[in-house]
């Protein structure tokens, strides 16, 4: 005859053992260099916990606007799930004035004033650009909109040609959001989204490792 207390404890102990989980260790990936090529190299990233407000200026054509917005939403979701501790989030801003970043089609009217901080186009399919603030060291210069101050710190344009190939557009926007987050260079590996011309539509382990490292390094520049 099993004592009453033992009869109570045995099922609880069995339950506790059953709830244990065997540890599994996934393969590790090496982060690539994310620093900006300044002298010395500098780290740019948003403060941890920032919600980065992006205004998607899709232009007059509703179909093209929808393509750009869809590409942004999917890319933002991929980058958000690449970090473990909610280090950053993306949100859509209704207007350029309310945004930290503006994403627009090349060839459309530029949603902010770029005098003094123009993009280096040079035939690229897309460009992300920003400029240091000469008045506040360690910060990016805010763009103005129609001469009025705004919170915009970065601009991203994608060439209109990309609208003809939605899959390519999504890859390009995914890549550019990596730059928006602060990855200042291109990966040397073709498997990574942040390689300059990689035909990759999902973040690699190295992309994830890189963004995780970046957001646990003290920044030299914050937007």
């Amino acid at each position: 005859m099993i004592p009453k207390r033992i009869r109570l404890v045995l099922p609880l102990a069995a339950l506790a053992v059953a709830a244990c989980d065997a540890p599994t260790i996934p393969p590790e990936a090496e982060a690539y260099d994310f620093t900006f090529q300044t002298t010395p190299p500098s780290v740019l990233r948003w403060p941890v916990g920032t919600t980065i407000r992006v205004h998607v200026a899709g232009g007059e054509d509703p179909a093209r606007a929808a393509l750009l917005r869809e590409a942004f939403v999917e890319a933002a979701a991929q980058w958000e799930t690449a970090v473990l501790f909610g280090e950053y989030r993306f949100a859509e801003a209704a207007t350029a004035r309310d945004a930290d970043v503006v994403l627009f089609w090349g060839g459309d009217p530029v949603p902010a004033d770029t005098v003094g901080c123009p993009p280096e186009i040079a035939g690229a399919r897309a460009v992300t650009w920003s400029c240091p603030d000469p008045a506040v060291p360690g910060r990016l210069r805010p763009f103005t909109v129609d001469g009025e101050p705004s919170s915009i710190r970065m601009m991203v344009f994608v060439q209109r040609l990309e609208a003809n190939d939605p899959a390519s557009l999504k890859r390009v926007v995914l890549h550019e959001l990596g730059h928006v987050l602060g990855i200042g260079r291109h990966s040397p590996n073709l498997e990574d989204v942040m390689e300059a011309h990689a035909p990759v539509d999902r973040l690699s382990l190295a992309d994830r490792a890189t963004i995780q490292v970046l957001y646990h390094v003290e920044p030299d520049i914050v937007p």
Binding site: A13, T81, Q212
Partner: protein
């Protein structure tokens, strides 16, 4: 938030049903009573340590890093069935409405909402007229969207101990209790770290709660 409320309600209901089954069996031995408790809970960090930063530029050292559930309210429904004059079996289920906060160097940020459900079976011994001690095992569940929970067990075993006082206030039977819980925590994401250097072995998390309760019905003989 709505889904969290539903989970809390479901968990509480499960606790009551769980109580009813053995309660019927034990009622003839020593009686049965139900208690509702509410309080606040603090927790040690889920993740704590130094980021190794394998690719950090020269001169960038490791930073302290921690992710901790903030001080948060919890509700508990408990039922007791008497086993002996001073010994009872308590089955309890509770929900904590919390939030995860990250700290790194001088930065602090909200990682996201966190709901914590637990269900525990414990033995409760009365010590004299008003005091009691309690200890038992159960299961705990963390509900959160943060990537750090990727690959963590849905249910983890938890050890619970508590001590408190039973009082009469204006005809109502109330209690004040201090409760401690301990459980392991680990996740695939954390063990791998994705190369981030924020990598950790499984560790133990301790939670401490202060609870005030009121006996809703029944009575132990």
């Amino acid at each position: 938030m709505e889904s969290v409320m539903w989970r809390a309600a479901t968990l509480s209901l499960v606790g009551l049903v769980w109580l009813a089954v053995p309660g019927a069996a034990w009622a003839q031995v020593g009686g049965l009573e139900v208690e509702a408790r509410a309080g606040v809970v603090v927790s040690t960090p889920l993740v704590e340590g130094a980021a190794a930063l394998p690719a950090a530029p020269a001169g960038e050292g490791a930073q302290t890093f921690r992710v901790t559930p903030v001080l948060a309210p919890l509700v508990v429904v408990a039922g007791r069935a008497g086993l002996e004059p001073n010994l009872s079996l308590e089955l309890s289920a509770g929900w904590t409405f919390s939030r995860l906060e990250g700290r790194q160097g001088g930065e602090a940020w909200s990682v996201g909402d966190l709901g914590i459900g637990h269900a525990v079976a414990s033995l409760r011994r009365r010590m004299g007229e008003r005091l009691h001690v309690r200890g038992g095992f159960g299961l705990i569940h963390y509900r959160a969207d943060a990537g750090v929970f990727e690959g963590s067990p849905r249910l983890m075993p938890v050890l619970e101990v508590g001590a408190g006082a039973d009082l009469e206030l204006g005809g109502a039977r109330v209690s004040l209790t201090g409760v401690g819980q301990a459980h392991s925590f680990g996740s695939t994401a954390l063990r791998g770290g994705g190369g981030s250097g924020i990598r950790g072995e499984d560790g133990t998390v301790y939670r401490f709660a202060l609870q005030a309760g009121v006996v809703l019905g029944g009575g132990l003989r």
